[in-house]
Amino acid sequence: MSGLDGRWTRRWIEAVAAEVARRKLELTALDRAIGDADHGENLDRGFQAVLGRLEALDDDATPGAVLKLVATTLISTVGGAAGPLYGTAFLKASMAAGDRAELDAAGLVQVLTAARDGIVARGKAEPGDKTMVDAWTPAVDAAAAAGDDVRAALEAAAAAAAEGAAATEPLVAHKGRASYLGERAIGHRDPGSESTSLMLRAAAETR
């Protein structure tokens, strides 16, 4: 396969939905420690709704069309901060993808960058605030540095997001519900950074 087409995008989203369903208790447990204990359930509700709506989409829908459907569905079904944050990420990603039939490595980097920028604009978090930005930013940087092999870029992004998520553990939170906890947030991984890592790992493993 050369680039990432609409069918790949759809398989990726289906893999994300399956992983979120499988790991929702784990994500919620992370959120219970430093948040409001709903991240796994909220994302699962959102991605199950996405699966339902994907069936109505044309088989030859572009990556941008798939991403846009994910965006609008997450925004209206997730119910927590993850809804507007991931919804905005997928919306900006779909705009960056435009009507291209396939994304090459450069296109992937544009899409990931747009997603990350959308999250930053919506949530106003910076790197080090113990949020999903701490997984997204290293992922974007790693994908950009990976060269022109789209597979290598996906793998680099997934690996960097996993490291970024782990690196949120020693941090004090400056955004979101965890920011009310002060130093008690130290030692806990940010749930949003972990779900970001999950999504990018699923992308790297989708053929």
């Binding site: 409001d36 709903d38 909220n42 925004i75 209206s76 079904t77 119910g79 927590g80 901060a81 809804g83 507007p84 944050l85 919804g87 905005t88 919506r122 949530g123 955004k175 979101g176 519900r177």
Partner: protein, 229 residues
Amino acid sequence: MSVGLVIVSHSARIAEGVVELAAQMAPTVTIVAAGGTDDGGIGTSFDRVQAALGEADSGDGVVVLCDLGSAVLTTETAIDFAAEPERIRIADAPIVEGAVAAAVAAEAGGSMDEVVAAAEPVAREPERRADAPDAGPGDDAESAAEPARLEIVLENEHGLHARPASELVRTVSGFDAAVAVNGVDAKSMLRVLALGLDRGSTVVFEATGPQAAEAIDAVGALVRERFGE
């Protein structure tokens, strides 16, 4: 018509309760609750917020009061999707006090900017000069004019608490005058309430502007009739 309000809370009951409280102060303002998720749980619903924004806009715009983080994120996302985003503003204010203050300002016919300003907290205001009422027209030449002044003791049972304070705000908003009560803007519900003036307090009203004298007369009448209590 007036500016409409939307109350966005993680809890449907909080949103409805805030609407109930604020509506008491503002019987003609459209105030719409957007609380909880679509299935009645704790969270915020993009669809509910979007519907409430449409319902609350009767032509003069909408001001939104939010509780915690994702209520703000959901509202901002809904604004991004709005056909006319410039007609919607989020007030950075505590949801209960802010909603009451915003409702009073909207009831008095305030613009979106005035409603937002009324809601936003007193604590964020910069320090004011002790020698000048903040409602004064500033440092231009006209400010040299002597303000119309009234010093009076509050004799109504509840002093300048919520309902009398809203009466005061409504009364002074009807005049082309800047009115200060003990040095704070008498058109700002939150600032008036923050004075904490009880029965027996001595209050100084000062007004400047074209209708300063009329405004002071109206305020005097209001205080003497004990705010209708």
